[in-house]
Amino acid sequence: MAAETARKFEALENQAAGIMGAFAEAGYERVAPAILQPAGIYLDAIGEELRQRTYVFTDPDGEELCLRPDLTVPACRLYLEREPEATVAARLSYNGSAFRFQPHGADEKRPREFRQAGLECFNATDPEAAECEVLTLVLKAVKRSGLESYRLRFGDLGLFKALIESIEMPARWRRRLAQAFWRSGEFHELLRQFCEQSRPVPPGLPEDLIRSIDPEDPQAAAAKLVAYLAERNIPEVGVRSLDEIAAHLVEVAADKRAEPLAPEAASLIEAYVGIAAPPRAAGARIADLVARHGVDLGPALDRFRQRLDLLGRAGVDLSKAEFSAEFGRTLEYYTGFVFEIELPGEGRRGRIAGGGRYDGLARMVGAPRDVPAVGAAIHTERLLAIVEELKA
């Protein structure tokens, strides 16, 4: 790909000055996280899916490194480098290159090297206020760059979590539903299985052994596993221990005997996941839905409403927004409120900025505990291209 033309470079620089100015005025310290990142930590946090698009290489010392595919993880690592205990609040902003392999060939619309301008807010005391702050700052930056008209998309993984917490089912089913949330086919299939009267032993697993396991007695299960392997001369190989294998067998045995999920509960979850409406209407529909099912979401729904109030008071035009319960993000580290600013009808290219809450990420990259964090990033080349098209 050819280098940027001088004109485009200048236009991007001017745009970045406006964006970074907006962040700086709000007290965000500008930082320059490292471009080269340790691949292991990075890829453990973002998963193998984004790895397919990450430039990974081995340096002469044998260390596996990558060119950062985004700036959120590097900013998070930079924060932890400064604050290993992760107890201090921090507001950081950045504008820098990110790199992603384009499997169908790189071109101007699908650059393999692009700049992200973003901000990250760690350890803020009031979560909804921090979310509102980050979103309004991104909107301000986008507006300053010349874009007046856009759509906002909202999602809330905290609401989903509260919903499944409020429904009677084994804790491990909740975990599995939460893990599958990102992939709708798998999610619906799980719900279907949980509703069945009995769940057959999955094909290929030792049915007799599993039938003989009492889910209440994991010790006996481990002993049965050892006997089973000894009888067949199968040695223990690898770092996954027999205890871990036994624990999973116990789960399978427990699943087999577990009371099925009530069909009403499954339809409640399906109905929730299907909600897509302007945010206030969506809030009302969710409240309605859970009330009808006699379910209490606790503070999660209040937080949802409070966030909307804050956004409304901050001047965010909520009529431009759409809440979708299924709207997560492809990056699995989000844990709560998520949002995207987009130009409808433009596809991927129209997704100009996005962000959300990611309280678990810091721990994944080395913090001693979860750290409340919310951040967002703007795809600066896309923003510039769209603003210039609108002007032309």
Partner: protein, 235 residues
């Protein structure tokens, strides 16, 4: 102007022997030029053909970039080394030798795991217990990623392994392997089992054509002749 057809032939091992044999039987004997170790060759009874002896994985790269028109190499190497292989090369002919299956295998003692979906089920617990994802040792990074994604397995990491892949679980450097096997004996000797839906690719040697190469009339004519003769010899 119309250049000759350049064909990449494996330069060593069984793959080379069987390739030469196949062309011999098709009435297109290949000879190395100069010493036995030369990298260029000729093909008899056919005009406008240049033979280049290359390693099997080089052939995949050369076909991708168009430096050769045709190549003989394993389908596994083509699919591993060429993203969107279907769009960039044409599979002209499977040659019936060099059979090897690319499979997903796990320790035989994992009696709680029999299909790909089970991997995703144990992945979260494994990460919690060990502080990292399940590791998959392989030299087939791209085939592995594509297949795992297709099967809905996301929580894993690839560790690149260029040799003795099947020993990595016992050595503690990976939990899962993706490797080629013809009889399964090596996997069994290492106390590994293939998952029920763990066959990623049933590979064999193939004649592939580059879409990136410049195809003049002479190259096209030579290609048609080679394909026809191979087909006739195979019956």
């Amino acid at each position: 102007m119309s250049g000759p057809l350049v064909i990449g032939i494996p330069s060593k091992g069984r793959l080379m022997e069987q390739t030469l044999e196949t062309f011999e039987q098709a009435g297109l004997p290949i000879r190395r030029v100069g010493s036995d170790r030369g990298y260029a060759g000729t093909m008899a009874h056919i005009d406008h053909v240049e033979v280049a002896f290359l390693s099997a994985s080089e052939i995949a790269f050369y076909v991708k970039s168009g430096r050769v028109h045709l190549g003989i190499t394993g389908e596994d190497l083509v699919r591993e080394n060429i993203a969107n292989a279907e769009a960039r090369v044409t599979f002209l002919r499977a040659l019936g030798f060099g059979q090897a299956n690319v499979v997903v295998a796990v320790p035989a003692c994992w009696i709680d795991v029999s299909v790909m979906a089970d991997l995703e089920r144990i992945a979260a617990d494994f990460s919690r217990a060990h502080g990292r994802h399940l590791r998959v040792a392989t030299k087939y990074m791209n085939l592995t990623r594509r297949y795992f994604a297709q099967r809905g397995v996301w929580r894993y990491r690839i560790v690149e392994s260029l040799g003795a892949t099947e020993g990595t679980p016992a050595a503690g450097t990976a939990e899962i392997v993706v490797d080629i096997t013809s009889t399964g004996a090596t996997l069994a000797a290492n106390h590994l089992k293939v998952l029920q839906d763990g066959l990623i690719l049933a590979s064999q040697a193939c004649l592939v054509a580059s879409k990136a190469a410049t195809w003049g009339p002479r190259a096209c004519e030579a290609r048609n002749e080679i394909v026809a003769r191979l087909a006739a010899a195979a019956g």
